[in-house]
Symmetry: C2
Subunit: 230 residues, 2 copies
DNA sequence: ATTATATTTATTGTATACAAATTTGGTTTC
DNA sequence: GAAACCAAATTTGTATACAATAAATATAAT
């Protein structure tokens, strides 16, 4: 079976959304490599669904920019370039700068505690060098931080970029030295937030993203991870 | 007929895309007001197509954030708040700041001439106070300027926000005083670009968007143009 | 042999059919 | 008269069927 299915069913939820999540996951993790053509019948059979909901899922992926559509030829998984990674982190950073003021302003004691709870768990994951778990917690941490601002549209932009970052996050987290620094930086973030030090946070986040980007870029350059289109 | 259809057919292009464009247009122009429920059969009949391509169009609109999906209840046109407008212009401005350096760097004589040609046409439209034509030219002008940078992902973010701005652009352009100032500013932009004055451009664009936002916000507040959800 | 041209096959595009769920209206019951 | 319940109608969710287009293969002509 070309890509692993994971159960997300739970209650009654349109299977087009389940298909959407699964395909997205498979693309992000590279199970379906860039350049691959997604033939509807193949994936419909694999997911044991009909073409109708699968096509609806594809239309969503199309708007997400994860796949490209060619007339009468169906969809193809889009490739990445070094420039893409650079832009993604640039956008991410700019958006963070925009919401930081309201994050500082809205940060209640409860919210800070919530962040500390996540950090506590990350400490444990860090100790046992569980990169997989750290990747998930990392997203949770950043997501929680960002959602303290209630800038819904900006969060939406961050989310859309996030999709792409995930695709390289494994690479970034794999770097031991970066993992150590990033872990310390996460602690610093919460401390600065508690002190409501906006300027300090701005500098720290800028640094945080810059380092992540560089780690990611060098890892990608070394391993030539970027897939070539067509 | 609740909303006017316009012919985009031309060659062979999936009708789901035509449906998508038409629905998008109808939502942006307010022909389908916020809060409206989009019943599939109603619009499929109206567009003389079946539900299948219509649904695919809806999935795209869903990812665009123009409509909201509720389980087993279909899609509803999303409403706007004052905060939305504020965020949209904030994002727009931040993105412009990100691409301005590469716009200045990549601006060839040809590109500047292209901008001047557009300005020439806008002069005429401004003279005869053709707000409708100005709105279109305005987008062309900004779009051309932005595309001088080849930051594809950032342009994508700008584009996605643009959808929403369109919805209020008529309002902004309708203001006579804002129209005059904006028109002058457009000329200034090209002059500064020719001089490769990055700092000047940054200040001008920041001002340009700030003024547009304020005009838009006050117009909306006065006329209570914001539609209420549910 | 190579090109040109049918012919078949694979795949996407659209329509229709049916199932599942929700809403609506009415009837019954207290 | 209000609440609870049942039935019909509406609407979404999914599957299937068929049409249209493109790709692949085979066949024919030079």
């Amino acid at each position: 079976m070309p890509f692993q299915a994971f159960d997300t069913s739970l209650e009654s939820r349109p299977i087009r959304d389940i298909a959407y999540e699964q395909l997205k996951h498979a693309i992000i993790t590279g199970q379906i490599p860039a350049g691959s053509r997604i033939v509807e019948t193949v994936y419909a059979d694999q997911l044991h669904i009909s073409r109708t909901p699968l096509r609806e899922a594809l239309r969503k992926l199309e708007r997400d920019g994860l796949v490209e559509y060619v007339l009468h030829r169906g969809v193809v998984v889009r490739a990445f370039t070094i420039d893409d990674i650079d832009e993604i982190f640039t956008i991410r950073n700019a958006m963070m700068m925009l919401i930081l003021p309201s994050v500082v302003q809205n940060a209640t004691a409860e919210k800070i505690q919530e962040l500390r709870d996540i950090l506590k768990q990350m400490d444990a994951e860090y100790e046992r060098a569980d990169a997989e778990a750290l990747a998930i917690s990392n997203r949770l941490f950043h997501g929680t931080m960002e959602h303290i601002s209630d800038k819904l549209r900006i969060l939406r932009v961050i989310d859309s970029q996030e999709e792409y970052i995930k695709r390289f996050q494994a690479t970034t987290i794999a770097s031991v030295v970066r993992r150590t620094n990033a872990h310390q930086e996460h602690h610093d973030m919460v401390n600065l937030l508690e002190k409501k030090d906006l300027d300090g946070l701005k500098i720290l986040f800028q640094h945080h993203f810059e380092e992540s980007k560089e780690t990611c870029l060098s890892a990608v350059r070394e391993k030539k991870l970027i897939e070539i289109n067509e």
